[in-house]
């Protein structure tokens, strides 16, 4: 993997844009917090989709996909450009009830890394039921009673095999009476931690923050003519990979391509950052990701938009992600604009609010008539 670091500053426009960014910052923060509070895992995206729909401008025509993806269309010259974010994050689902009233767990998709399930040990969780949220905790062995053998098997070797959700009930009947059904989403409580340097931490925050940027962009541009006809979409089932040999594209992205037939695509997602204090840097601006480090019209336009917005950009070359893969046959016309996230896919994903603001500013500038020139 090769990378190149670049920072683009539109010196003339910077002052104006910083004022504009500051004015819009409060709204973006509010949107992040609103989305952050809503659980959303693959196959259980409906609540987040509903929340986003509620935050979109009144009168916006919402396009939907039967899997749960939603989109709004901005008018412009024939296109469309697709700006594609995600609705779903990694999480767990209810897979069964024990006679004693505990829940067993499974995942709707493969975990993002080998330690993902181990974070559940001894943590509070929320089960999203049709009747509303239900609180529970993941059982853990009492420290006083741990022998070396139990430490090895139940702590070091913790997995979904020994993950039980304790709801404080004594029977399956009582558990079901709380409204819990098989396949209900199980996630960590949405507890936000605000760190120094205007950095925020929380479970699933990278996904929600990126989705919030698209909501904010839509709010600003809705009802106006864009540089080109644009579909801004939040795709469901982006963590579920299509079966078959070779590349395993995200189902949500495959369907987005089929449905909206874009001429060019900007993928908006989270990217792991700050590992070992290395590249890309949280706080260094959004990361422009391409499979090949080569110039393209879309890339140039985004760089120009960043310059005009006075927003920093980082650059990374790496193989196409499952989100970008469905569009890879026209690689010059797909770019990923990623939000750098520290501790990605842990219960404390950390974002720098200024990175998110920069992401919004770049997209906003790019989509305006004449944007990216």
């Amino acid at each position: 993997m090769a990378h190149r670091i670049g920072r683009t500053f539109g010196i003339v426009a910077a002052g104006v844009c910083l004022v504009a960014a500051a004015a819009g910052a409060a709204d973006l923060r509010t949107v992040i917090k609103e989305l952050f509070a809503v659980p959303s895992t693959t196959g259980n995206e409906d609540m987040l989709a509903a929340k986003i729909r509620g935050l979109l401008p009144k009168g916006a025509v919402i396009e939907v996909d039967p899997l749960g993806s939603i989109a709004v269309r901005l008018a412009g010259t024939p296109g469309p450009t697709l700006v594609l974010g995600c609705l779903d994050g990694y999480g767990h689902i209810v897979s069964g009830f024990t006679p004693e009233g505990y829940l067993t767990l499974d995942r709707p998709v493969a975990p993002p890394h080998a330690r993902f399930d181990a974070y559940l040990l001894g943590q509070p969780v929320v089960i999203s039921t049709a009747k509303g949220p239900v609180q529970g905790v993941i059982s853990q062995p009492a420290l006083h009673l741990l022998t070396q053998e139990r430490r090895r098997t139940l702590v070091e070797g913790f997995s979904l095999e020994n993950a039980y959700v304790d709801l404080g009930v004594r029977s399956e009947k009582e558990a079901r009476a709380k409204g819990i059904e098989m396949l209900d989403a199980v996630t960590y409580p949405a507890v936000l931690t605000e760190l120094a340097g205007d950095q925020w931490a929380g479970p699933g925050l990278g996904l929600k923050a990126a989705a919030a940027a698209l909501v904010a962009v839509t709010g600003t541009l809705s009802g106006r003519t864009a540089r080109e006809e644009t579909v801004i979409a939040w795709a469901a089932q982006t963590k579920f990979m299509a079966r078959g040999r070779g590349a395993r594209p995200a189902i949500g992205a495959v369907r987005a391509r089929t449905k909206w037939q874009p001429k060019r695509t900007i993928i908006v997602e989270a990217i792991s950052a700050g590992k070992g204090d290395g590249f890309p840097f949280p706080g260094g601006g959004p990361v422009l990701v391409q499979a090949k480090d080569e110039p393209s019209e879309l890339r140039s336009a985004l760089e120009a938009a960043a310059a005009a917005a006075g927003a920093p950009l980082q650059f990374l070359t790496r193989p196409d992600s499952p989100m970008a893969a469905p569009f890879a046959d026209r690689s010059a016309d797909v770019v990923t604009l990623a939000l750098p996230v520290r501790f990605l896919n842990t219960p404390s994903e950390i974002i720098a609010v200024k990175d998110l603001q920069a992401l919004q500013d770049i997209l906003q500038r790019f989509l305006q008539p004449g944007g990216g020139k």
Partner: protein, 366 residues
């Protein structure tokens, strides 16, 4: 029954009972468990306790932050003691990159705070941080299985959102500051919750509630001391200090009963269900309660219809340091699942049974 007769009866009951108002132990617990008090840093929580005690009780405090009061006179001398310290860590150093390292210890499974928020309690106020996940947490496992280094407190690398030592210090963080896991209360149902620091803030709340309901003038023919001691989790140091000045005949240590009421534990022992009443810890790692005393407690509880369970488990208690001085240690508890975790579980009925049992013993113990 006419209203006048009812009023007279109520007054009569109040005059012979050591207990006054209804229990507020549950509300006190929800409040006190959020007050920081890592072992050796119990100032805030001990001030909280002392501030809530009725002024007439003449509470004392020593340099360690032990707090206590005594009512009545004569023998026997009964001591109730709960520890106010909680599990947590202490800042060891700040790296040039602004990361915080902590000293060994903590008493909580380190894995359960990996990639989780913590709060550093500094002289300038609370500073949040995130315990970094272990390096390479999201790397693909290697083909050849290698032994992973254990994740311990000394491996903690706490990220504050800054990139230099100077910035970390500007936030107020300094060596020796205590830190705790960020606490959230999980309400599993009405009167049932799971959270950090139930051990032993539930004991503190039960004792405080009993103190608030106590009618000191009704304590006759005995001396009763209520104490909230410090540094239990790191070696019973607060209790040891109290044992130099107090010489009780009976000590009722109020602390967690480590219950196996969970899906992961063997039910071979310590299976006392949550929600089925207060607990008498007949045997633990520090004490064996004489059966004669167990029977006395049960008789008192039975007389007042207070549900009490008897069990044996592990863990020590503060009362054990008074054994050498001649006291009998009779630990009282509630059944606590998931001891020393972020999700210590407690049932309101158990807590209120415990506080009622304390008051009943104050009244009836001979």
């Amino acid at each position: 029954m006419n209203r006048r007769l009812f009023t007279v009866l109520l007054a009569l009951i109040a005059s012979v009972s050591p207990a006054g108002a209804q229990s507020k132990a549950w509300d006190l617990l929800r409040e006190i468990l959020l007050v920081p008090g890592v072992s050796g840093h119990e100032g805030p929580v001990s001030y909280f306790i002392q501030g809530r005690l009725p002024a007439g009780l003449k509470a004392e405090r020593d340099a360690m932050n032990n707090v206590w009061f005594t009512v009545g006179s004569g023998r026997p001398h009964i001591l109730f003691v709960a520890h106010s310290d909680e599990l947590g860590w202490v800042v060891d150093k700040i790296t040039p990159e602004g990361r915080v390292r902590v000293k060994q210890g903590g008493g909580i499974l380190p894995q359960t705070v990996e990639a989780r928020p913590v709060i550093i309690h500094t002289g300038k106020g609370d500073v949040p941080g995130i315990v970094s996940p272990r390096p390479g947490y999201d790397d693909r496992p290697s083909e050849v299985e290698t032994q992973e280094a254990p994740f311990t407190a000394t491996a903690f690398d706490i990220y504050l959102g800054v990139t230099s030592e100077a910035e970390a210090r500007a936030l107020g963080v300094a060596e020796g500051d205590p830190l705790t896991a960020k606490k959230t209360i999980t309400d599993l149902g009405p009167g049932l919750m799971a959270t950090r620091a139930v051990d032993d803030r539930a004991g503190c709340a039960a004792l405080l509630d009993a103190a608030l309901r106590l009618r000191p003038e009704t304590v006759k023919g005995k001396t009763v001391t209520f104490a909230w001691d410090v540094q239990e989790e790191v070696g019973l140091f607060g209790a040891s200090a109290l044992a130099k000045t107090l010489a009780p005949d009976y000590v009722f240590a109020i602390d967690t009963f480590v219950s196996t009421d969970s899906p992961l534990e063997s039910k071979r022992f310590a299976y006392l269900p949550v929600g089925k009443g207060a607990v008498l810890r007949a045997i633990d790692s520090s004490n064996v309660t004489p059966k004669t005393e167990i029977l006395k407690v049960l008789a008192i509880a039975r007389k007042r219809a207070i549900p009490v369970q008897i069990g044996n488990s592990r863990g020590g208690n503060d009362g054990s340091v008074f054994l050498a001085g001649g006291a009998v240690d009779i630990p009282l508890s509630w059944p606590g699942s998931y001891a020393h975790s972020l999700i210590e579980k407690i049932d309101r009925r158990d807590l209120e049974a415990l506080t009622n049992l304390i008051l009943a013993i104050v009244s009836d113990w001979e």
